[in-house]
Symmetry: C2
Subunit: 239 residues, 2 copies
Amino acid sequence: MKDTAAKPSLRERTRQAMRDEVSAIATRLFAEQGCDNTTVEQIAAEAGLSRTTFFRYFGTKEDVVLTWLEDLGPMLAAAFAARPATEHPWVSLRHTFDPIITMNAETPERSLAFLRMIEGSPTMKARHREKQRCWEELLVPLVATRLSGAAAADLPTALPTGPSAGPSDGLPAGLPEGLSTGLPASLSAGLSADRDPAPRALVASALACLNAAMQVWESCDGAVSRNALLDRAMNVLHP
Amino acid sequence: MKDTAAKPSLRERTRQAMRDEVSAIATRLFAEQGCDNTTVEQIAAEAGLSRTTFFRYFGTKEDVVLTWLEDLGPMLAAAFAARPATEHPWVSLRHTFDPIITMNAETPERSLAFLRMIEGSPTMKARHREKQRCWEELLVPLVATRLSGAAAADLPTALPTGPSAGPSDGLPAGLPEGLSTGLPASLSAGLSADRDPAPRALVASALACLNAAMQVWESCDGAVSRNALLDRAMNVLHP
DNA sequence: ATCAAAGTGGTACTCAGTCCCACTTTGATA
DNA sequence: TATCAAAGTGGGACTGAGTACCACTTTGAT
């Protein structure tokens, strides 16, 4: 718990260096012959480790080039949390993606190749979505508290959710207009996190916009500004 | 060539009956022991066919309970196409989901069990998303033409095509504010389908809303109206 | 020097998915 | 009716991902 940022503890550093190196090798192989035509055996051989050890470092074959996305999650959550609480969540989400857009802005070829690799294999695409689902899980509670108003405490992590969430009561069938118009879910007591689709709808839609923008950016070989594309995508939804 | 729609041709009917029966058996097995704990061998055995034949009928293990989703795609596309061309795409998309909501409205237990099965296995979840990607591919072009058509017609903020992008030049890096503000792709000539993220952003976001609504509906054991949940989710994005 | 924890490689296993081959069934035609 | 090609079926062998277990080595602290 204490070595999170202070002491990477040599072992950890070695481990990370290994991960990075294997990841680089795998990236090269995937680019050369396609992800589906590359076996774990091959990657392990080129990296000088056994198949067994490979799976100790990476859960799946695709993880070898996708784990960094997972690590990105907390950074995005922090970026969202850093936005002013009064800002509309949609705008905050837009700015949450700024780090992603900026990252590798100097090495567009790199991210272009990455996107092409993702798009090249259905399996890879699926795993990529899974990673984004991890982001979603991190962001949804933040958006939820933002929506429910500044009434509750601004604790980012602890999300008890269970003041009274009994399975017995069921919100008959009401949930009418009053809720759908206002920004904050005025009946915050009833459906803060589990029973309001809005937070997840916002986050997942924002990610959908991000993906749509990225796909166009990739199909244009990076000729258009990613910021402009993302703005375009997100403004259509909520101008 | 002749039996496309008129004559299911006995063989086809037999084949379909087989599919349905195997699908029913697999659904039961998945519910009883979980998808991941059920092997293709088992399903095939219970259905009285060989493993080989099973894979002739279904591409993957999960397809056995998911193919009907793929078949649903054209129906959704038709539902969207049936909406008035002047309607805002977001509203049309909302109504596109009406068939899904209505379907099995009389058998909520069935769809509840289905959703639980989906949510129960990560693999299943991934495959489910893939099926929805098929819907996306069908809907995106429809929304694209709707958007580009509306650009000329009635939408208010039609800009005078600032950079005057021709199809030949690569849109250097500009595409600035002008594009990001306006709803319609005013430069419809330049980026109608391939280079405008808006259609895909709309469709993918709508699907994200649908999923968010369904997830809440499932976690509430169907206690809340699906229509209300979906309205809530989609209205937050574009009231 | 000792010792426990962590890391590594090897083997064997399960299961999804593919390929190929031999056999049977079907349906149409001579 | 006999024939024949197309389609369907099952079996067996194969690849490749991912898991489990076991024996061995390295590390780092006491």
